[in-house]
């Protein structure tokens, strides 16, 4: 079995997304496709699974030229994709989700669950997947949900599995389990196409790697014939700058002080929370997402109810102050979900270049906007943070994820506020943007900002933080100092959880 793309070209209005690209995918191979955001990975895949019909070129599947009229058509011919955002219904069971849309019903429209359950169980056994079919999807972890999406494709008899950033939501442990399953697919001669940003994982799991840049295929070769450094350079198109880590001075001046804080969350039995951040210091909060990090940030920002304790910002008690008050006083915030919390993505770039500083005389007089100077300011940010966008008048929604994130970072850091709260700043963005954003965060530290960095990526905390705390089920650990065993210490607390302190 083999599927090939021949001379694929995709043109959007005035943009060539894919330029005369040919690729081959073989059975029993894990084929990684890597590239920066906007390199054309998604466009290419959308052709393969029948979403994009406006392309020129050919798809050859088992020596026949094929044309899918829709994703449903593609899946009927054995090609399925798992998206980054899952398409599951929380209120249904795993089994119901799996068969949804392809129900094995009889002439009267009744579904024979008794008959289908053993069939799916056999599938699970074949690939050594552990899953309770009668559990409600809402009770599953993210990793399990992802597995449900994959089982869905297996049930529909997919021979080609396209996986879009599958490990972005997984912990190191879960990733390992996931790779085990992928290897089982490989044994069963499936074609596995893995779209990813994480080069380390490409090195571990893939057999073949193809690098895309600006819609062109830069290189496609067996993994053995290339190296990590080569791949990275091919992705970016130049050598990556090394992070310039200025250690700076940490002053013994507490910018943020959280004392015996109790927040209304499902973890409230594990509180209170204590922590402080000093001037010029980056405190990392590690832990698997969903262990109360988000709730802590919301409490600090004043959008979640505080039940007790206090939050002090530069000696001022802000526990019960409004979000507006806190932000104006000098708290910057870079949220994880840039599309929902960080930007108004349907608004224009210039409208997103300012928010809390709109009252600045530079940007408004009385009730009126000074549009021109806001646009100039936006232009300034675009240049300074090398954001790729047509103009300040473009809609944010037209930008790639990495550039959206750069816009958020640019807006929040340019205020030069004393306290910066950052939540997974590099989630799902490309290598080049990650390096850039990391450097900007370090620069802010060198300028004396106090930074709270919540991250699910151990690497990120390892590179940036001066010391770290681990959150587990709402509980927060003692400070873990940055020493030789920094990573190990964090990792062990992440796993042991309850036993720390």
């Amino acid at each position: 079995m083999k599927i090939s793309l021949r001379d694929i070209t995709i043109d959007y209005d005035h943009l060539r997304a894919i330029d005369n690209l040919s690729l081959e995918f073989n059975a029993g191979e894990i084929h990684a496709i890597v590239g920066e955001n906007g390199a054309g990975k998604s466009s290419l895949m959308s052709v393969l699974y029948g979403l994009n019909l406006n392309y020129s070129g050919k798809i050859i599947f088992n020596d026949n030229e094929v044309f899918w009229s829709s994703p449903r058509d593609a899946i009927q011919h054995g090609i399925g994709m798992v998206h980054q955002h899952f398409m599951l219904i929380d209120e249904l069971t795993v089994l119901e989700n799996i068969i949804l849309g392809y129900e094995p019903d009889d002439a009267l429209g009744f579904i024979n669950f008794e008959k289908i359950q053993p069939e799916i169980n056999a599938l699970l056994k074949l690939y050594d997947i552990n899953m309770n079919l009668n559990e409600l999807v809402m009770n599953l972890s993210v990793a399990q949900r992802q597995m449900v999406e994959i089982i869905k494709l297996l049930y529909r008899n997919a021979k080609v599995l396209i996986l879009d950033e599958p490990t972005a939501v997984l912990t190191p442990n879960e990733t390992e389990m996931f790779f085990k399953t992928l290897r089982n697919f490989r044994l069963e001669k499936k074609i596995i196409i893995l779209i990813t940003h994480k080069i380390d994982e490409v090195m571990v799991i893939s057999d073949h790697v193809s690098i895309l840049r600006n819609g062109k295929l830069i290189n496609s070769s067996k993994l053995k014939q290339t190296t990590k450094i080569k791949i990275e350079e091919q992705i970016v198109g130049k050598k990556l700058p090394k992070l310039n880590i200025k250690r700076g001075i940490i002053e013994r001046k507490k910018v943020l002080e959280v004392e015996s804080l109790k927040i209304s969350t499902r973890f409230s039995h594990n509180q209170p929370i204590d922590l402080f951040i000093q001037k010029g210091e980056i405190i990392g909060i590690a832990g698997v997402s969903g262990n109360g990090q988000n709730e802590l940030i919301e409490a600090i920002l004043g959008v979640r109810k505080v039940l007790g304790g206090s939050i002090k910002y530069l000696q001022e008690d802000i526990t019960y102050k409004s979000t507006r008050h806190r932000r104006i006083k000098g708290i910057s915030f870079i949220p994880q979900d840039r599309r929902k919390d960080g930007l108004a993505i349907k608004s224009k770039v210039w409208e997103n270049a300012i928010n809390i500083n709109l009252n600045d005389k530079k940007f408004s007089i009385g009730p009126f906007l000074k549009k021109k100077s806001i646009k100039n300011y936006a232009n300034q940010l675009i240049n300074e943070f090398s954001i790729k966008v047509d103009s300040p008048n473009s809609s944010v929604i037209t930008m790639s994820g990495g550039n959206m994130q750069k816009l958020v970072v640019a807006r929040e850091l340019s205020n030069n506020f004393p306290l910066i709260i950052i939540e997974n700043p590099t989630w799902g963005i490309d290598v080049g943007s990650i390096a850039f954003i990391h450097q900007k965060i370090l620069d802010m530290k060198a300028r004396g900002a106090a930074i709270l960095l919540v991250s699910n990526e151990l690497d990120e905390i390892d590179v940036l933080a001066d010391s770290a705390l681990v959150m587990y089920e709402g509980k927060i650990s003692n400070r873990i100092p940055k020493d030789i065993k920094f990573r190990e210490n964090i990792a062990s607390k992440m796993l042991s959880g309850i036993h720390f302190k």
């Binding site: 507006r324 929902k340 919390d341 930007l343 928010n355 009126f368």
Partner: protein, 353 residues
């Protein structure tokens, strides 16, 4: 490959042809059922929407257009901020009554009286809208529900007021006394079109300025696009909500005032409810995809359809019910077509506002 390129080229043409064909058949069937003369009906439709002696019908379309556009702006102002204020009707009625009532009190002041009456209509409309905002923010009543439910008290309270305490008993109808002529909105020279349309135009221009050049317009737009972003950014959410609702309600109040001072010269029970101005306004706002620039066009379209259908009834003896169904068919057709067009254009990233 072959079938693909064939589809690509001919699909839009076939679609449009098909749509025209089906609407034509539908209307023909309806007219056939009603036993009406097709060409006479068509003539009646066109003549009474844009024709008439001395363009009289065109002016009546304009006068309707002012009211519908006004209500469309009122709805749009709120919708743009993500506030689903569908209580335009209540705000309109309350504004209309307040204006009629004040008009009677200040009728001696002439021009100043007109201004005072309109302002009181605005205040009443804004207050009514603010009540639903208050219920949403402090009581947790969803705005959609609160604003809708407030339509009923508005209607029945004013109904009570004109049926009992403020009724012009002589007239025999549930209505207030006729306003003295010096507080009527003046007509354009040699026409029966009052100056209300100018006032709505002024509102339109002011709203354009607010939308695109003020802090409030900026806040409100972003709030409509992402509430959580606005909240987390520390923008003054409550203030934006109340301001937006007050503006929306005040505009509805102005529309009510214009209907009173320009057209009816008194407040009659149900006069602002029956013609469905508020609901038509909401449809018009949605039709143009909340793009304020196109509101006058949408307003004219709906007004013309209404007056045209009425003309069909008058001239071709098409029964009123069938005329209304034809009206609905045309609206659905246009809404469907424009809807798909605007979807296409937003995909291409064309200016969204």
């Amino acid at each position: 490959m072959q079938s693909k390129s064939f589809l690509k080229i001919f699909r839009p043409t076939i679609e449009i042809f098909y749509a025209f064909f089906s609407i034509f058949i539908l209307i023909f069937l309806l007219l056939y059922l009603a036993d009406a003369n097709f060409s006479l009906a068509f003539k009646g439709f066109v003549n009474s929407s844009v024709g008439g002696r001395n363009n009289a019908y065109l002016f009546s379309t304009f006068s309707k257009m002012a009211l519908i556009s006004g209500m469309a702006i009122a709805a749009l102002v709120a919708f743009r901020g993500g506030l689903f204020n569908i209580g335009g009707e209540g705000q309109l009625v309350v504004g209309g009554f307040a204006c009629a009532f004040t008009g009677l009190l200040v009728s001696d002041f002439g021009f100043i009286g007109i201004i005072i009456s309109i302002i009181s209509g605005m205040l009443a409309g804004a207050t009514w809208a603010l009540i639903s905002g208050f219920l949403t923010i402090y009581m947790g009543v969803p705005l959609l529900v609160g604003s809708l439910l407030l339509n009923y008290p508005a209607r029945f309270i004013t109904s009570y007021l004109v049926n009992h305490p403020f009724r012009d008993i002589q007239s025999g109808l549930p209505q207030t006394f006729l306003l003295p002529k010096n507080v009527w909105l003046p007509y354009f020279p040699n026409t029966r079109l009052d100056l209300g349309i100018l006032i709505i135009f002024l509102v339109y221009v002011i709203c354009l300025i607010i939308f695109y050049n003020t802090k409030h317009g900026y806040y409100s737009k972003n709030m409509g696009h992402s509430l959580s972003y606005v909240k987390l950014s520390g923008l003054p959410t409550k203030k934006i909500v109340f301001k937006t609702l007050a503006l929306s309600g005040a505009i509805a109040g102005i529309v009510g005032s214009i209907a009173v001072l320009g057209i009816h010269h008194r407040f009659t029970d149900g006069m602002l409810v029956q013609p469905l101005y508020a609901w038509t306004g909401i449809i018009a706002a949605l039709l143009v995809n909340l793009n304020l620039w196109f509101i006058p066009l949408a307003g004219f379209f709906f007004a013309a359809i209404y007056t045209g259908a009425a003309g069909m009834e008058r001239i071709a003896q098409v029964p009123k019910e069938i005329a209304t169904v034809i009206q609905a068919v045309i609206i659905l057709f246009v809404v469907g077509k424009l809807g798909s067009l605007s979807n296409l254009s937003s995909n291409k990233g064309v200016k969204d506002d």
